[in-house]
């Protein structure tokens, strides 16, 4: 819709379309013969900037008010007087609303069907803080924020390569959120980049409030619990991925950046792994791998062994387990599931509650889980140990999605073990492996480099090797440039 020439008409139109929003501020200034008006949204604009630069500059233009090219003069004057500002001219209402909501001020002049927009944005972001979800002892301590430009800046600051390209796309019919796809042009596989861009171009959605909205459009694995896209708030992790040849997606208003494609190993590793001595990290990674197996399989294995295949348990242990169980009325699987649900509820409540109340919850939780349930004869002590080990090992992983994915598979192991003992446990294991093998993102299988096997990168992914020995980028990403060291 074209702009009107009459500024009163423009004002009334804006109020009409926006439903007389309380934060729309309009003002009219008479400069000689001309009437100049400006509009801004109080909630997103900085009053100081407007009165300091804009109003002062407009009133200075009195002498030109009789000239025909007043509009151009106004444009030039504003441009010269406002430091570091973005300025544009627009001529329709749709653009006007976009800029208004973004914190721009619209200057309209009576008699011209054009308007000047200039940035008077109020900073509504918090500053760069320490990451809260992926804490490290060693390594950079800054994290992404809700500010889109700052996020890109944090990445750009780390990779000063002209080949680091960003492609910006606007997503969301109502939110008009900026989404940009970042990649290093001469490393990343152009095919993968093109597919990500195509997918984002096709997104038809009314609003994007977090990168989580975008993620579901980038994969077609909504029926799988395993995450295939890494989301991180650490700029160093983002940059490491870019250097590997992965594609990143930065979304406005969220500190979480998406990285594609993700393989299982990426979710098991932590950001800190890159900064410590390789030989020590290798040990930690083996532990984490072990923890993954324990957290998925421990309750199922316990049920299978104690209710079907007792012959595997050593004699003395079996007798002590049997005596512990003698006063428990419920089936083993039932008490395991009850205790697991209790733990999950506690974890959820701990996460939602403000920090000040968290400690009281954990005290109650520890008492309920640990002592009271055993003394009341609802569960046997060994079940508490099994569930505790399961829960503690699951907290080793930083990615919430993978922790919750393990939860589903743990349940499958429990159910099949309850029905068929060790045979059921093995069936569950087979289903688990088949599922893992069948996932892929952007043509990269989930279990790479184990299956398909890349012997060279097995060492790098399962354990790790020192940086000075990491000569190649991972070939399974089809990078254009696979050399980390030496000539391209």
């Amino acid at each position: 819709m074209k702009l009107d020439k009459n500024i009163n008409k423009i004002f009334s139109k804006i109020n009409e379309i926006n439903g007389n929003s309380p934060d729309i501020t309009t003002r009219e200034i008479k400069i000689g013969f001309k009437k100049v008006g400006y509009i801004y949204l109080e909630s997103v604009s900085s009053d100081d900037k407007i009165s300091d630069f804009l109003v002062r500059s407009i009133t200075r233009l009195k002498k030109f008010s009789f000239l025909d090219n007043f509009f151009t003069n106004l444009y030039n004057e504003l441009k010269n007087s406002i430091a570091n500002s973005k300025m544009k001219t627009i001529d329709n209402y749709d653009d006007m609303f976009y800029y208004l909501a973004s914190g721009f001020t619209i200057v309209v002049v009576n008699g011209f069907n054009k308007a000047i927009v200039l940035e008077t944005r109020e900073t509504l972001d918090r500053g760069v803080t320490e990451p809260s979800t992926e804490v490290t002892i060693r390594g950079p301590k800054d994290s992404m924020t809700e500010n889109y430009n700052k996020n890109i800046g944090l990445i750009r600051k780390r990779i000063k390569d002209p080949n680091l390209w960003f492609k910006e796309i606007e997503v969301g019919k109502r939110t008009k959120t900026k989404v940009s796809i970042g990649y290093i042009k001469d490393i990343a596989d152009p095919n993968k980049v093109k597919r990500v861009i195509d997918k984002i171009n096709k997104i038809d959605i009314d609003g994007v409030l977090d990168s989580g909205y975008i993620r579901d459009f980038l994969t077609n694995d909504e029926r799988s619990s395993f995450p295939t896209i890494i989301s991180t708030e650490r700029p160093d992790t983002v940059c490491a991925s870019l250097l590997e040849g992965k594609v990143i997606v930065v979304v406005e208003n969220t500190p979480f950046v998406l990285i594609m494609p993700g393989i299982l190993a990426n979710f098991i590793h932590a950001a800190e792994d890159n900064y410590q001595k390789a030989i020590n990290v290798s040990m930690t990674r083996v532990l984490r791998f072990l923890a993954m197996i324990v957290t998925i399989m421990a309750p199922g294995l316990y049920i299978a062994l104690t209710t079907f295949n007792q012959e595997i348990i050593p004699n003395t242990l079996l007798i002590s387990l049997a005596i512990q169980r003698s006063s428990v009325p419920f089936p083993t699987s039932f008490s395991v599931i009850i205790l697991m649900i209790t733990f999950e509820i506690l974890r959820e409540s701990d996460m939602r509650l403000p920090e000040t109340m968290g400690t009281s919850i954990s005290i109650v939780g520890a008492l309920v889980l640990g002592d009271a349930a055993v003394n009341a004869g609802i569960v046997s002590p060994i079940v508490v140990i099994v569930v505790a080990i399961t829960s503690v090992t699951s907290l080793l992983f930083t990615d919430m999605d993978i922790v919750n994915a393990f939860r589903w598979w743990r349940l499958l192991f429990i159910i099949l073990s309850t029905l068929m003992g060790l045979i059921g446990f093995i069936v569950a294991g087979i289903i688990f492996i088949i599922k893992l093998c069948s996932i892929e993102t952007l043509d990269v299988p989930y279990l790479t480099p184990i299956s398909p096997l890349y012997p060279k990168f097995l060492m790098e992914n399962i354990i790790t090797i020192p940086r000075n020995k990491m000569k190649k980028r991972p070939t399974y990403l089809d990078d254009l440039d696979i050399n980390r060291m030496g000539e391209k």
Binding site: T307, N315, I319, A322, I323, L419, M420, G421
Partner: protein
């Protein structure tokens, strides 16, 4: 279609599953079986380890065991007699020891083996032992101040006395059956009995005393001929048998050099190689022994290589005596427990089938043994010389 397949798979789980589902508290974990003769036939005693106990004892990992007994014409009948008395399912998967009464062993041990081997639940890795001088029921009830589970008390007792003393021998059921089924070998089995006041063995109160009134004791080996127990060995004879069968891990040998000059040697490696000459039935035994001096109460000059040589010589002699003790006993009772018949079977099976039937009675007792022992004392412990000798020097 997909849904149908899914339902079929689900049905498999729900219809076939759970047939062997057992909660732990529904099981009566049998860790020991004792079989005695009874006027009706057999009297079977089962030791059940997870009987009801107080909260405190379960925390300490202690269990109170109960012994159930039942009689019947057959082993199975006796078992089902017990099953009626217990509220839980009898679970034999963790059986640790089977005690067979001396009378049954002398009569025919096959009755017991047949049932135990046929039962698919048992792991066949439990010890078999003969209850000597006492009823197996009494031995099962025996409590020890050191072990929480009486069955473990028995099995560890046998293990220890066979590994460190060479008096007894470890025999698990599968191995026992294997030797019975092999060509030309006869079986042996350890024995166990009560030492002290027999009626106090199952008394909890007596455990609280510093010196328990009654304890279990591993005794020497019983020699079998086919399915029958023929004789017991003395301690020396069983040591000899264990040396030939390569079953000794540690063995203390006391030798006398001259008069009143005793040296105790610990043999930590004995290896016996046997070589048979079929034509004239001569068997050469080559025994290599390594050991250490652990005790001597005289003034020997141990720094002198000649003394060591002397000790070696007398150890060799001592071992030779042990070995011949064992061989003589076996030849006397005409049972080839060493498996020389099996060696012949492996060397020349045509010849073996000719002599097979008469091997134990006619051939084995006539074998000439030539024993060659090579002893080598390698260590003197923490002392270089004897204390007395050192005193004399200075």
């Amino acid at each position: 279609m997909k849904l149908k397949i899914f339902l079929i798979i689900l049905l498999c789980f729900f219809t076939s599953g759970c047939w062997n589902y057992n909660e732990l508290n529904e099981l009566a974990i049998v860790t020991g079986i004792g079989i005695d003769k009874h006027e009706n036939g057999y009297k079977v005693s089962l030791m059940i380890s997870n009987s009801r106990s107080t909260q405190s004892s379960s925390r300490e990992g202690e269990a109170q065991t109960t012994v159930f007994t039942g009689t019947g014409k057959t082993f199975t009948e006796a078992l089902s007699n017990i099953d009626v008395k217990t509220p839980r399912n009898l679970y034999l998967g963790h059986l640790e020891v089977v005690l067979v009464d001396e009378e049954i062993a002398k009569d025919n041990i096959n009755i017991v083996l047949e049932n135990l081997m046929r039962n698919p639940e048992t792991a066949k890795k439990y010890y078999i032992a003969i209850a000597r001088d006492n009823k197996s029921e009494e031995i099962l009830k025996g409590l020890s101040p050191l072990e929480s589970f009486p069955s473990q008390n028995i099995s560890l007792n046998i293990q220890n006395s066979s590994q460190s003393e060479g008096i007894s021998t470890e025999m698990v059921l599968s191995e026992f059956i294997k030797t019975i089924l092999k060509q030309g070998v006869n079986s042996i089995a350890p024995s166990i009995s009560i030492q002290g006041e027999e009626n106090k063995i199952d008394n909890q109160e007596s455990l609280k005393e510093t010196e328990p009134k009654a304890m279990l004791k591993a005794r020497s080996i019983g020699l079998f001929k086919d399915f029958k127990l023929v004789t017991w060995t003395t301690e020396k004879e069983s040591q000899g048998i264990n040396i030939i069968n390569n079953k000794t891990e540690r063995l203390y040998v006391t030798t006398e050099l001259d008069k009143n000059k005793k040296v105790v040697v610990l043999l930590d490696s004995t290896k016996c190689k046997s070589d048979i000459n079929i034509n004239d039935l001569n068997i050469n035994l080559n025994i290599n022994v390594k050991g250490a001096i652990v005790e001597t109460d005289t003034d020997l000059d141990l720094e002198n290589p000649k003394t060591i040589e002397k000790i070696n010589k007398s150890t060799e002699k001592e071992i030779k005596n042990l070995v011949f003790d064992g061989i003589n006993l076996a030849q006397k009772y005409k049972t080839d427990i060493f498996g020389f018949g099996n060696m012949i079977y492996r060397k020349d099976f045509k010849y073996w089938y000719k002599v097979k039937k008469e091997w134990d009675d006619n051939y084995f007792p006539k074998i000439n043994f030539k024993v060659k022992v090579n002893a080598n004392i390698e260590s003197k412990g923490a002392l270089e010389n004897t204390i007395k000798e050192k005193k004399n020097e200075s």
